[in-house]
């Protein structure tokens, strides 16, 4: 025969047994700043370094080691002044070191939108969203980014624009370390197209298209 007090024990055990589930439910919905507990460590964390991890053997704690200064990887001497520095026989190069086709132009547009438009704006007038935000903050440390449609910028040879992208200019930071050399040339080509798009005469339009443009 089951007595009354054993029923009570059973009920309290039942209630207590729900407690872990309450904790689980909380773990499933709440955010935690603590990393997960590896109940079974398996080989989740192995004695090796992954990208951008910390290795205290080195003074700067980087596990990824930069090459010794002055090291040149095979094929990376970057002798081509035009391609890597935008310079040809001592002057800013006027042309491009590669063939510019639609594919390059599309690539340039995509990269421009990612890296340049935050400040220079999608159309290049120096009114990108970061520029507008910085303006609104009125901190006094911000210099309005250049419009790409001034006579000065229009007169820049492509090598000069390429160099500006690579090394930055005045307040503009350098992009050479994070945009590949081909992409920087593609952006240069797109900037040139953008400038033309905002400063074109009707004579620049192929004759059979002119009527179409004038209509608009």
């Amino acid at each position: 025969m089951v007595r009354k007090w054993t029923i009570w024990i059973l009920i309290s055990l039942g209630v207590l047994s729900l407690l872990p589930f309450a904790l689980i439910a909380r773990a499933r919905t709440a955010r935690t700043a603590e990393p997960r507990i590896h109940v079974f460590p398996d080989m989740d964390n192995q004695g090796r370094y992954k990208s951008q991890q910390v290795n205290r053997l080195f003074a700067d704690t980087r596990a990824m080691r930069p090459p010794v200064e002055g090291t040149v990887a095979r094929g990376q001497l970057q002798e081509d002044d035009h391609l890597y520095r935008g310079v040809r026989s001592g002057e800013w190069a006027a042309g491009f070191p590669m063939k510019i086709d639609r594919e390059v132009m599309e690539r340039g547009r995509e990269r421009y939108d990612i890296h340049c438009s935050p400040c220079h704006g999608l159309a290049g007038y120096g009114d990108g969203i970061v520029a507008r935000r910085a303006d609104a903050l009125q901190e006094g440390t911000w210099v309005q980014p250049s419009s790409l449609h001034t006579d000065l910028v229009r007169s820049r040879p492509s090598g000069h624009i390429f160099n500006t992208i690579t090394n930055g200019i005045r307040n503009m930071p350098p992009y050479g370390f994070r945009v590949s050399v081909e992409d920087r040339w593609a952006v240069t080509a797109y900037v040139t197209a953008l400038q033309l798009s905002q400063n074109a005469a009707i004579e620049d339009v192929p004759e059979q298209q002119r009527a179409n443009v004038q209509e608009q």
Binding site: T6, F21, A33, P35, Q52, E110, V143, N171
Partner: protein, 224 residues
């Protein structure tokens, strides 16, 4: 048995009420295995263990401001994501590109300025960390048209990034077995708010056909 003189006293006898416990013990022992299995099943599930991890970073960087409000493309900072396995956390130089002129004296940005002066990296804490025996490649997924949002969620709405996906093997395989609903045109991968009126299944199926997307499910795809 005992050698001391107490052994001559009355031996211990279980009191009568112990008999009342017998059905109780039966019930508890009978349910215990089921209880433990269910507890382990839910308690150790990746849904419990992995989702919601949100470490406090050395700098309270807000993706909601940078990627959401300002609408910076993910690749402005995570510039290696399309060409390498690892989506790099940007170097201090990327931060300082803007923050030498914007919020240049902000207290929150002090660790970034210190890093810029000393050359010591900012110790960002990794949120999404796969086991070391998994070889995941960001570039391959982006090329196939799997958006950031499919695994990382709406990072552009997160003040502080938290993990939204299980990142478990079963979860990976769900998509590798049926990728269509998670595919989109590759040029739209960083548009976290992208939506289409087209049926995602149908669109995905078409993209798989056009771009020859056949995710593999054999072991060596991810484990080497």
């Amino acid at each position: 048995m005992s050698t001391d003189n107490k052994s001559t006293e009355t031996p211990f006898v279980f009191p009568k009420w112990v008999d009342d416990l017998r059905p109780l013990v039966g019930i508890v022992l009978g349910l215990a295995p089921v209880y433990i299995i269910v507890l382990v099943w839910f308690g150790l599930s990746p849904k419990t263990q992995n989702i919601g991890y949100s470490p406090e970073q050395p700098v309270p960087f807000s993706h909601a401001v940078h990627a959401g409000e300002l609408g910076l493309d993910c690749r402005y900072c995570h510039n290696t994501v399309e060409i390498s396995a690892h989506a790099a956390v940007p170097p201090t130089a990327t931060c300082m590109g803007c923050h030498t002129a914007i919020k240049a004296t902000s207290e929150k940005l002090e660790p970034v300025r210190a890093s810029s002066e000393s050359g010591m990296p900012v110790r960002w804490i990794r949120v999404h960390d796969l086991p070391d025996y998994v070889y995941f490649d960001h570039s391959a997924h982006l090329t196939a048209g799997v958006s950031c949002v499919e695994c990382h969620g709406r990072v552009d709405r997160m003040e502080r990034v938290h993990q939204v996906s299980e990142l478990s093997m079963g979860w990976c395989l769900d998509c590798h077995r049926n990728p269509a609903p998670r595919l989109r045109p590759a040029e739209l991968v960083t548009r976290l708010d992208w939506a289409t009126e087209e049926d995602r299944e149908a669109l995905g199926a078409r993209l798989m056909e056009e771009n020859n997307i056949n995710p593999r499910t054999d072991c060596s795809t991810c484990h080497r």
